[in-house]
Symmetry: C2
Subunit: 417 residues, 2 copies
């Protein structure tokens, strides 16, 4: 069974603004999708029974909230047995920002345990035997299934870009700290980055612009082709043959449409930072879960308990060194963009693996999370099994609009070529 | 009535380790101070009835926790009527770190409303009609009164260094993000910095080293005199005559003891950042308190409600500009240390003002919080009213040990000169 039918948030808002659609009807459409397909996809940790329209620029837009964001009116489990019945006192800042814009909170979406690797129950809408990716599993799968036009998630390793790629939707991981993390259950506070899922780049740009009151909108009139750098990196041999082929095809499509495409090598100072990610994440995870480790250690999954035990060996000086390495890499990363506007590379090694016991590999994501750069997943096509192949556009730190605009340009040439 | 009698955390731990003092006796000594003087000082938002010794390197050390840090076994009010009966589900990371080291949590200490300016009930142990400073009012006053040898607090403007100065104790504001803020109620996440109060610099160094497992210890054998830069800045005319005199005296004392002392001017790019602090704090406070503003706005103090309304006018581009200005200033701040190891400047314009309606002025602190540099308050002497005069030692970002060591050196020459 294929449950793939994403709904455009931007088009929905435009139809409502033009009076051709009511907010209630827009919500009802999504609620019907949930009724028909949630039993298969299982995107929700907790769905609200009735979705009421609110006032504001996001009126009629249902938004899924990854269950690591606190909500004052819904339990929040963080994907952990420890918090099975936990009811936070207040909203996370991002949940309140969305409410104030008139979004309807659709419910809490399934996350892996503490947004780490132990999978939840969610399945891939393209093929229910395949992982939707993680850790923002329910947010990505729910957007793909048309349960809500938009969702929020977090990325510490590859938890936005990878599930977006596996589910065939647009995932936008903003520059680090562009969106506030207050009320988020942290796993690694130097890495945890808030982001968005929606049908296309223009939809993510609309949602992110509206709730942050920043101009991140993409434009069709600015159709100028970006200068694209195809990153060549030491991990390229981890790419599947189909992914390598998709990148090659995209390169010639982009060139046909007027983009200049070059190869880019990453500087040694950037490559050296790859290992820093694991050290920073491990050290911080031990502290982030210090209370749970002290009071309810038996309620961690076996895998997470082992990870925390191992990570407990990381010393403060090792952590401080890794942070310095990351800072040097952030500065050196400017060299990547000397001759191009954005980078293009795989969002994941392949399409979604045929398993529900793993959420896949974040090897193509971790470095960019560490460097804090904006990343946008673009659906490049489908593999022979009909599963989406995702590539990511990466822009320099703080240039989120450029990443979204290039992703939008790419989506347009893919659909028309 | 004067209730000033700080207890050395380091000496207490050493006496216990040597078997000359039991942990229980050390705790009892402090508990007796609370019983005798808390009615006057009012440092506690909530004191634990019985203080039990725990196992670990901080065994026998009672620690006050500012009531903006979540504690799973004590209510946490954030100094706000909204949270009068709030019981968090879990501990803040720093509270757990202290518990794991065997510290005894003495209780929650009074904070201003959300660690902003509206004062709590705490009084200055040197003169009960004077403010103890804020926002970490109870932590500073409680250490000064000998209620606990150590306490934790936070600084967003001047909320550690100023109350430490007013109460005549050592205050240590670490480099930004050296200590995790998880479980802290944020007011401005780009500024909120966790810090420590104790009798002297060596005590803060001991507590901070122990709970972070970093080497921040100060040493008496490394008695080499630091190169001190006396910062000359455009706000120096805000100093009281007594403060200016104290700085002059300290300069000649330091020179007599072998320190080289020079004047340092701050570069224009650093000075430009002074205004960025207000923009960043205001913009983030609106988001940090978005849920409370949406659901219980009538429970803010009038002053905070007005501040949030005014700050609501700050736009995202203004905020993004201010963050860029701050980043430039962080880079330019390296010039401050070209010819010196540390900077010396007032911790506050004067000694503690004779009021309980205000916690004083953070004008000498805000820039350094924004730049993320380690600051340590040093008791330079007393004014004619017998109130402490505090100066601060500031080191480059990440060089916390250097700041603590210079403060320790200064404390030694002050007490012996």
């Amino acid at each position: 069974m294929i449950c793939y039918a994403p709904v455009s948030a931007l088009a929905t808002a435009q139809e409502i603004a033009a009076g051709r659609l009511t907010a209630q009807a827009a919500l009802d459409h999504c609620a019907q999708r949930v009724e028909n397909h949630e039993q298969h996809v299982q995107a929700f940790q907790q769905a609200l029974i009735s979705w009421d329209p609110q006032e504001g620029p996001l009126s009629g837009i249902a938004v899924g909230i990854k269950d690591v964001f606190d909500t004052y009116d819904m339990p929040t489990t963080y994907g952990s047995a420890i918090y099975e019945t936990h009811q936070p006192a207040i909203d996370s800042t991002l949940a309140t920002m969305l409410r104030k814009c008139g979004a309807t909170i659709a419910g809490k979406t399934v996350t892996t345990e503490f947004a780490w690797f132990t999978p939840g129950k969610t399945r891939n809408p393209h093929n229910l035997e395949h992982t939707p990716g993680g850790s923002s599993s329910g947010s990505a799968a729910g957007v793909a299934a048309g349960f809500f036009p938009a969702a929020i998630g977090t990325q510490t390793g590859g938890s936005i870009i990878r599930p977006a790629a596996f589910c065939g939707v647009s995932g936008y991981k903003p520059s680090f700290r562009l969106f506030p993390t207050l009320g988020l259950k942290h796993f690694s506070w130097s890495l945890d980055t808030i982001g968005f899922f929606a049908a296309k780049a223009e939809d993510n740009a609309f949602i992110a612009s509206t709730c942050s009151k920043r101009d991140l909108h993409v434009s069709n009139s600015d159709g100028s082709a970006p200068k694209i750098g195809i990153l060549e990196s030491p991990i390229d041999d981890l790419m599947s043959a189909e992914m390598a082929k998709a990148i090659e095809q995209l390169r010639s499509q982009a060139q046909t449409k007027g983009a200049s495409v070059i190869e880019v090598q990453s500087p040694p100072a950037v490559e050296e930072a790859r290992e820093a990610h694991a050290i920073i994440q491990g050290y911080e995870a031990v502290l982030a879960l210090a209370h749970e480790s002290r009071t309810t250690p038996d309620l961690f999954s076996k895998e997470l308990a082992e990870y925390l035990t191992e990570s407990g060996e990381i010393t403060a000086p090792q952590y401080d060194d890794a942070r310095r390495t990351a800072n040097h890499a952030r500065k050196a990363s400017r060299q990547l963009f000397e001759d191009c506007d954005v980078l293009l590379l795989p969002s994941a090694p392949s399409s979604a693996p045929a398993t529900l016991a793993s959420t896949g590999d974040s090897v193509f994501n971790r470095l960019w999370t560490l460097l804090g750069m904006p990343c946008v997943n673009v659906l490049a096509g489908f593999d022979q099994k009909g599963l989406p192949l995702g590539v990511q556009i990466i822009a320099p730190f703080g240039q989120d609009k450029k990443a979204l605009q290039a992703a939008h340009w790419l989506e347009n040439i893919i659909s028309t070529s």
